[in-house]
C-alpha cells in the first residue's frame, strides 16, 4: 500500500526558475490588463482607497506642519514682566540687573518703553494715531528666560508667583504658554490620527476584500477549471494577490497626490497669513519617505485584504 504522501510526482523535471519568474511577470501584468477592460470599476475602487487613506495622511501632514510652526518659535518659556508706569528707566535697569543675577534666570532683557513705542509706530500701522498721544502709554518691559530646570509648569508657576511679589511689577505674562498648550493639543491630535489610521486602514482592507470577493465570483468558472487541471493554491491565488497589490499601490499613490494637491492649494493663503505675523512660514509637502511609507502601508492592506478573502474562498472549496 502506498504511503499517504508517497511517490508524488511533482513536475520538477520540467520546472525552471526562468519560466517561474515569467509566470509571475505574466500574471503581474495580466492582472493590470484585466483592469484595462473595466477601467471604470477599477478606478472607482482605487479612488475610494485613495480618499480613505488621504484623510489620515493629510491630518498627519497638517499636524507636522503645525509642529514645525511651534518649533520655529524658540522663545518657548520666556516670561514678560510689565512694570508699573511709575517705574523710570533707571529703576527698570536696576531691576533688570538684579533679575539677571537671580540664579533661577539665565537672561533678562529690558525693553525700553520709548523704543517699544517707536517699534510699534513702525509696524502696527497706527503711526499717526500714536503721534496724537501725549504720553507713552507703554510700560517698560523686562523679558526673562528661566533656567532650563524650570522648564516645567510647576516650577514656572513658583517663579511667576515669586516675581508677582515685587512691587514694581504689574503683570507677569508667560509669553508662550499657549505653545505648550498647542503642543499638548497636537499630541492628542496625533494620537487621534493613529486611531483614525487604524480604522481607515481597516476600511481599506474591507474595501479590497469586497472588491476581490466580487472578482472571485465573476471568475468562479476559471477557478474551478484551473483547479481541475491541477493548479496549486498559490497558482490560483496569485492573480488575485496581484490585483490586491495594484489596488493598494495605486490607491496609496493617489492618496499622496491628493494630500500634496491639498497642501498646494492651502499653501498660498497660509503663507500670506503668516506674512501678516512677520513669519516666513511655508507649508511643507509630504516628505518623500512618508509618501513611500503610506504607499507601502496601502500595498500591505491591498495584499492582505485580497489574501484573506481568496484563501478563505479556496479553503471552502478544498476538501
Amino acid at each position: 500500500m502506498a504511503s499517504r504522501r508517497g511517490n508524488i510526482q511533482r513536475p520538477m523535471r520540467s520546472f525552471n526558475l526562468r519560466s517561474y519568474l515569467l509566470i509571475h511577470l505574466h500574471t503581474f501584468f495580466a492582472s493590470l490588463g484585466r483592469f484595462s477592460r473595466a477601467p471604470f470599476n477599477f478606478m472607482m475602487t482605487v479612488g475610494v482607497i485613495a480618499i480613505t487613506l488621504s484623510l489620515p495622511s493629510g491630518l498627519l501632514v497638517s499636524i507636522n506642519n503645525l509642529k514645525s510652526l511651534s518649533g520655529q518659535v524658540d522663545l518657548n518659556n520666556n516670561i514678560s514682566l510689565f512694570l508699573n508706569q511709575s517705574v523710570n528707566l533707571e529703576q527698570a535697569t536696576q531691576l533688570t540687573t538684579s533679575l539677571a543675577n537671580n540664579e533661577k534666570i539665565t537672561q533678562a532683557i529690558l525693553i525700553n518703553k520709548n523704543a517699544a513705542l517707536e517699534e510699534f509706530r513702525q509696524y502696527s500701522g497706527f503711526g499717526s494715531a500714536i503721534s496724537v498721544l501725549e504720553d507713552n502709554p507703554l510700560p517698560h518691559v523686562i523679558q526673562i528666560t528661566p533656567i532650563a530646570t524650570f522648564n516645567n509648569p510647576v516650577a514656572l508657576k513658583s517663579l511667576v508667583d515669586e516675581l508677582k511679589q515685587q512691587n514694581d511689577i504689574q503683570l507677569v505674562q508667560m509669553d508662550m504658554g499657549w505653545l505648550d498648550r498647542l503642543n499638548g493639543i497636537l499630541n492628542i491630535a496625533q494620537r487621534g490620527v493613529s486611531i483614525i489610521t487604524i480604522l481607515l486602514g481597516l476600511a481599506v482592507l474591507l474595501i479590497v476584500s469586497n472588491t476581490i470577493r466580487l472578482e472571485l465570483q465573476n471568475r468562479q468558472d476559471e477557478i474551478d477549471i484551473t483547479r481541475l487541471v491541477g493548479a496549486t493554491r498559490s497558482f490560483i491565488m496569485r492573480p488575485f494577490i496581484y490585483s490586491g497589490f495594484w489596488y493598494g499601490f495605486l490607491g496609496g499613490v493617489f492618496a499622496c497626490i491628493l494630500v500634496n494637491l491639498a497642501i498646494w492649494l492651502i499653501d498660498g493663503p497660509a503663507s500670506s497669513l503668516a506674512n501678516l505675523y512677520n513669519s516666513a512660514f511655508n507649508l511643507t509637502f509630504m516628505p518623500f519617505s512618508h509618501a513611500m511609507l503610506w504607499i507601502l502601508f496601502s500595498i500591505f492592506l491591498g495584499i492582505s485584504g485580497s489574501w484573506i478573502v481568496v484563501s478563505r474562498y479556496l479553503s471552502e472549496l478544498e476538501n
Partner: protein
Amino acid sequence: MLQFINVSKRYSSGADALKNVNFELQKGEMAFLTGHSGAGKSTLLKLIAILERSTQGQVMLDNQNIGRLSKRNVPYARRKIGMIFQDHRLLHDRTVFDNVALPLIIAGLDRHEIQRRVRAALDKVNLLGKEQRYPITLSGGEQQRIGIARAVVNRPPMILADEPTGNLDPALSEEIMQLFEQFNQVGVTVLVASHDISLIQRMGYRTLQLSQGEMVNKDG
C-alpha cells in the same frame, strides 16, 4: 492504474451515493461507466478527481491512495488525469491556444515547450490553425475537441471523460470516441462515463455499470 477497494461515499445529507464499490482498471485499459442518473457516476468521477473524498475504502491511482492525500498534494495528483466534460468547461475569454496551454502553464513549462506541445495536441484533435480563435466562434464538436486537447496536452497516464458526447450528434460522437481509442492505443488508460447505450455497445469495450450506488456489473 485505477483501483476502488470497498469504496463507499455518504454525503453529509445522509444519502449513500456509493456503496462498497470494487473495481480495477489496468494500465492502458479502456472502459465505459454507465448507469442511470443518480446511480453514482458523478460521485465516482469526483472521487477520482479528488473533488470529493470517500467515506470508506481506498481509491488508488497509480498505486497511490488519493483519498488520503494532503490538500497540498492534491493538485499534483490531478495532473495525472486528463478530464473532459460534457459542457467542455473552456475559458471563453481566452483563445484556443491559451485554453489548451493552461495545464502546461500551471505545470511551469517554458514557452517553447508549451508551444510545441499545444500544437501537437491540437494537431491530434484536428484543430491546428485555429489556435488564435475564441472557443465561442467554434462549433460544439470543435469545442469538445479543444477540451480533449487540453486534457491530453500534459500527457497524463489516464483520461476521464464525463458524458463527452452528451450534446453531440451521432456522427460527431463517433469521431470523439475514435479520438479516445487513438489515445488508448498509445497506452493511455481511458474511462468514459456515458449513458449512450447504443454507442457503448457498438464500441464493444468493457462496461462498468452502476445502479443506486452499487457496482452491478464490472466485466461487461
